[in-house]
């Protein structure tokens, strides 16, 4: 459901380009109208931290505004921020990126994904994308003239992609693979050895990997492997990162892309014509987050982990089997044993118990039968939501 060929704007089909008409609005957005009219809803549908940005980060931005730092920055982003990013990537992954021409500061990973797709794809190029996945990947590919090809994943394989499946989908038109691990909506983390197999395929078939690693710091079990660190991958990886999730900075719209200078050069070309430069105050905030934010980020991560364990146990206790997420801040329980589709479940739960979850099919065909529950919400709310869900499930059990 992340994309399909349904034609929107039926009244005036000529007004809107075929390309844009060919993509459906996000499946998540459909709940918006229904939700907006309701009070007392507990929303597990929000894909962002419940914390405000750490105060020292806000303070840094406020003080820069007071001092009048309100101009454009260099197209690629403030030199100091690119320098800090380069140090950060070196320290964290032992990756050496030149701040001069291999790092681009973007308006979140969202922009980075769009730029990467537009910079790399020719009409008809195929891009392999895990299913289920974050809702924007396939539309970004379509908007760039590419053709998304979904890589099915399943709970039995912990929502990891297998090299075997990937290889079976590679054609002579395949240009790139988009990866998004730790994964939204499943919370899956790709283990290093499985990622190595995929990387080996990418090298063998000369594919680019666009890796959305926005949740890289939110890993509770296992370890996050940065795709660019794998043998042969640094030169063929577009590594997208950001501050939104780990530093609770969603509203600042700030992220970065790193890759070889040819790709970053091409992405910068689009960025300078369409965006100019990422918001200046957000860049200042990002510098502060990189320099002094580690402690506050670690506290939040520890807190998400505790909520994760409460959420998974809670879901299992009320009778929904749930893959144990290892990263991000989503639980992705199966609702198959209720006999309802994802959408039915989500809609009825919202109307009857005022708990908002996102139907799994919004993230792709393989998400059918699941719902996404974001646990980045207070424990009090989580407990209340679980109680309401329990009442809902018991009621349906009694009926069946």
């Amino acid at each position: 459901m992340a994309f399909n060929t349904k034609t929107q704007n039926k009244q005036q089909p000529d007004l809107i380009s075929n390309r844009v008409s060919s993509i459906a609005p996000s499946g998540i957005r459909r709940f918006f109208d229904l939700l907006a009219s309701m009070d007392d809803v507990i929303s597990l549908g929000i894909g962002e931290p419940d914390y405000p940005t750490p105060y020292h980060v806000r303070e840094a931005a406020i003080s820069s505004i007071e001092k009048g730092y309100t101009n454009y920055t260099s197209n690629s982003g403030m030199p100091e921020l690119r320098q800090e990013l380069s140090v950060y990537l070196e320290k964290l992954y032992n990756l050496d990126y030149n701040p001069e021409n291999q790092i681009l500061v973007t308006v979140g990973v969202s922009e980075g994904m769009d730029l990467a797709a537009r910079a790399l794809l020719n009409p008809g190029d195929e891009v392999l994308i895990p299913d289920p996945c974050y809702v924007s990947y396939a539309p970004c590919v379509v908007l760039s003239g590419g053709q998304p090809v979904m890589i099915p994943t399943c709970e039995e394989n912990r929502f990891e992609i297998s090299a075997e499946t990937v290889e079976s989908l590679i054609t002579d038109k395949t240009r790139a693979i988009i990866l998004g691990y730790p994964a939204n909506p499943t919370g899956a983390v790709m283990p290093r050895e499985k990622l190595l197999e995929v990387a080996e395929l990418a090298c063998r078939h000369d594919l680019i990997v666009i890796s959305d690693e926005i949740y890289s710091q939110l890993v509770y079990e296992g370890e996050h492997t940065c795709v660019a660190t794998l043998p042969g991958m640094k030169d063929r990886t577009v590594f997208l990162g950001g501050f939104s999730k780990a530093y609770a900075m969603t509203g600042w719209r700030i992220g970065y892309a790193v890759a070889n200078e040819h790709i970053i050069g091409a992405m910068t070309k689009i960025h300078q014509y369409t965006i100019m430069s990422a918001p200046t105050m957000s860049q200042v905030a990002a510098i502060e987050a990189l320099k002094n934010g580690e402690e506050s980020a670690a506290e939040m991560v520890a807190d998400y982990d505790r909520r994760r364990l409460i959420m998974v146990k809670g879901l299992c206790d009320i009778g929904l089997s749930c893959f144990k997420p290892q990263g991000a801040f989503y639980a992705f329980p199966s609702v198959k044993n209720t006999g309802m589709t994802s959408e039915e479940f989500a809609q009825k739960l919202l109307i009857e118990e005022k708990v908002a979850v996102v139907p799994g099919n919004a993230f792709g065909r393989c998400g059918e039968g699941y719902v996404r529950c974001c646990y980045a919400t207070s424990l009090k709310e989580l407990h209340k939501a679980l109680e309401r869900m329990e009442a809902f499930i018991n009621r349906y059990k009694a009926r069946n």
């Binding site: 939700l35 929303s43 549908g45 419940d50 505790r306």
Partner: protein, 160 residues
């Protein structure tokens, strides 16, 4: 582990051992053991609510009193502190560095009660040289909780 349990309880004293056990990925009995040990050993003193008294119409007066003392031979500050902290009016008693020695937080029903406490109970204590009373005008943050925070969610109900 003990440290994490204490932090969780300090933030929310109503968490059950079962909940804490789930959050810290351990058994309920393990947590129960830790908590009873902490309670018995005086590490956890008491569980209480953080109350926003300003929301109650009832009159209540809070004061912070600076107390300057002459330490007594042998017993030092502790003996004077003891004479102060036994008064139920003294909610908190701390020895501090700086221009005065003890900071005493006092709650009472009205100004008169506070002044009564200072003039009749606190000032006459042997060794007390002088006091300065600061009446509390407005409270902004209590035990880590911002009091005028509406708690309204700043988040959209659903985002991409």
């Amino acid at each position: 582990m003990l440290n994490q349990v204490l932090r969780l309880l300090e933030d929310d004293g109503r968490l059950t051992p079962a909940q804490i056990a789930t959050m810290l990925n351990t058994s309920e009995s393990e947590i129960e053991k830790l908590i009873s040990k902490a309670e018995e050993g005086g590490l956890i003193l008491k569980y209480k609510a953080v109350v926003n008294w300003d929301k109650l119409e009832e009159e209540q007066v809070w004061a912070i009193i600076e107390v300057k003392v002459t330490p007594q031979m042998k017993a030092g500050f502790d003996a004077i502190a003891e004479r102060i902290y036994h008064f139920p009016e003294a909610r908190t008693v701390m020895l501090v560095s700086g221009a005065y020695d003890f900071a005493v937080v006092v709650t009472a029903r009205n100004l008169h009660e506070v002044s009564n406490f200072v003039t009749h109970k606190l000032a006459p204590i042997e060794g007390v040289q002088g006091t300065t009373t600061h009446f509390l005008l407005k409270r902004y943050k209590e035990d880590g909780v911002i009091l005028n925070d509406s708690g309204d969610s700043r988040r959209q109900k659903v985002v991409l």
